[in-house]
Amino acid sequence: MNRKDFLSAVVPLATFTSAFTSQTSSSKTHRLKKIPPYLKKGDSIGICCPSGYISLEECQPAIKKMEEWGFNIRIGTTVGLRDFTFAGTDEERAQDLQQMMDDRSINAIMLGRGGYGAVRIIDKIDFTEFEKRPKWMIGFSDATVFHCHINHNYGIATLHSKMCNSFPDDFSKADQTQIDSIDSIRQCLAGEKMIYKRLPLAQNRSGEGIGPLVGGNLSIIEQVTGSISNLHTEGKILFIEDVGEYLYKIDGMLWNLKRSKKLDRLKGLIVGEFRIKPDDPGEEFGKTIYEMVMEKVQKYHYPVCFDFPVGHVKENYALKCGVKHKLTVSKNESILKEL
């Protein structure tokens, strides 16, 4: 697809610093949404690793870029810290995140990388201060735990986007879609209203839906089901992505979504990138992602958009979770528009 067709001009919000933009809704499930204050030059972004280990060096391209954007960068104690696969022990990771959340001089928190570890510490986090003074939590993959948990329990918006580990070492040699994806973080943090356009696809289902955007990594969505971090999808536009799983595993997770009624009352479904682990020889699953998704949502009528650029790929645009969007899928194009 043509990149120009995709990321169209975005309209900046009039008031960048309008904290706590609230919108109420008649429906009980649409909780009061708090939009954390958008950032302005001179604000501080903290980098923190609640999941997997990443070295400080690997974070440098992100640090440099975000400094170019005019932000001060504060390095958390878990950056470069290591306890096997984790960025420190559970206590160290929880403490760093807690500190970043409570420190009033930090205006947003970007995660170093995903991996695994968020569910091990989330119940240790005290959200009291964060709830009073929300700030943008930025990341994806394992960070889906935070998106689900924070969106639902505190009604606070979060930013699903690339993290430090996905900034290229050399921007001059990077893929344009990767550069645009990273720039979409800057635009989101500046309070610009995002519009993403996509070329049409035969497998899509046309329609239009309006609702708060929620979602993230499919494995994580399954794995918070039943817990206090459970994702609530009624009346929402849901997006899903995953990486490194066999097709049969993806199918099983989609059945969990369906059977736990998370697909029943959507306003729209966005299927991002699924980087599938190839079938083992002789174990060919024989179904595509399109078929696997459509068979589960065939009796509903909301729009379905496939191949949306969100996931573990270079082209992974920033999405504001918890914020109201409009999804329009037609024969001509698909548009996801922040309202």
Binding site: G52, Y53, D83, F84, T85, Y116, V119, R120, D123, E222, Q223, V224, T225, G226, S227, I228, S229, N230, Y248, D251, G252, M253, W255, N256, R259, S260, K261, K262, D279, E283, E284, F285, G286, K287
Partner: protein
């Protein structure tokens, strides 16, 4: 037979007005020589030859065997299309001439058909459904929705390679005949000692977490829970155990049994702990009896366990006892 012939198991002093359905399990009729076992594959494909030893063995035990259409049948990964697998299992469940259903193998696929199964005939004439791994979903579903006991036990594929004479396959035979199980297992340094008594539930960890939030989800309060797994990453076990924990499933158990965790994998950056160490940390806070290394799972060591039936679990410093009541 009709439902009045089922044995309602309850150790409670029964005041019918107060009896909650959780305290009662419907036990399908046990088998006797001459009864018929149907073999069905609701999930992954299995060549017919791999069931031959099983069929011979079951016949040797005095049962008639009816292979279902899905045994040896293939549609890509599966033992038939969803429709074919559904129809075969449905037919086996409803056919009055079939007294028990043994699954050929697990794999993946039961979850694709479970919501289309019609249990109305089966509820009137329950029969033992035997299997594990992917069949965990069927066990959970049957017990959660219909309070019908089922059998977590070796499947047809496990009878091969001369294994049909071992004590684990024998335990399936005994269970089908209605003999009460009395198992022992070795002590393990991570065990929590104690006694627990309650209804047994459990199975494959991936399937247990996959059922959470759905109509097949099992309630674990006051129950003995057992868990086994195969082919997962160590971090995956940690993540799934955290899900059980965070969804409250480990809070009020009467006992917790860890079976075998076969073919575990680690990531390039090592997790830094063994599966047993991961689990040990996670369950440290609970004071009910807990045992590790119980012979249930994807290895040869896989005792037949009746889901929905009461057991007593005794974890001593030198021995673990698991006795059916």
């Amino acid at each position: 037979m009709n439902i009045g012939d089922c044995n309602a198991v309850s150790s409670f002093t029964i005041h019918y007005s107060q009896l909650t359905i959780q305290e009662m399990t419907i036990i399908p009729p046990y088998l006797k020589r001459g009864d018929t076992i149907g073999i069905v594959c609701p999930a992954g494909y299995m060549p017919f030859e791999k069931a031959e030893t099983c069929i011979e063995t079951l016949t040797g035990w005095g049962f008639k065997v009816i292979p279902g259409k899905t045994l040896g049948h293939q549609y890509n990964y599966f033992s038939g299309t969803d429709k074919e697998r559904l129809e075969d299992l449905q037919h086996m469940m409803n056919d009055k001439n079939i007294d028990a259903i043994l699954c050929g193998r697990g794999g993946y696929g039961t979850g694709r058909i479970i919501d289309q199964l019609d249990f109305s005939g089966f509820v009137k004439r329950p029969k033992w459904i035997v299997g594990f791994s992917d069949i965990t979903l069927l066990h959970c579903h049957l017990f959660s929705n219909y309070h019908i006991a089922s059998l977590h036990a070796p499947m047809a594929a496990a009878f091969n390679d001369g294994e049909y004479k071992n004590q684990y396959i024998e335990s399936l035979h005994a269970a089908l005949l209605g003999k009460k199980a009395d198992y022992t297992s070795d002590a393990h340094p991570f065990n929590h000692q104690g006694n627990g008594y309650g209804i047994l539930v459990g199975g494959n960890l991936s399937l247990l977490v996959n059922a959470i939030g759905t109509s097949s989800d099992i309630k674990t309060k006051n129950k003995i829970l057992f868990i086994e797994e195969i082919g997962e990453y160590i971090y995956g076990i940690d993540r799934m155990m955290y899900q059980l924990k965070r969804s409250g499933k480990l809070n009020h158990l009467k006992g917790l049994i860890f079976g075998t965790f076969s073919e575990m994998k680690d990531t390039t950056i090592p997790f830094g702990k063994t599966v047993e160490e991961v689990i040990k940390e996670l369950v440290e806070e609970y004071d009910y009896p807990i045992c590790f290394g119980f012979p249930v799972g994807h290895d040869k060591e896989n005792y037949a366990l009746k889901i929905g039936v009461k057991y007593s679990l005794t974890v001593q410093n030198d021995l673990v006892k698991m006795k059916e009541k």
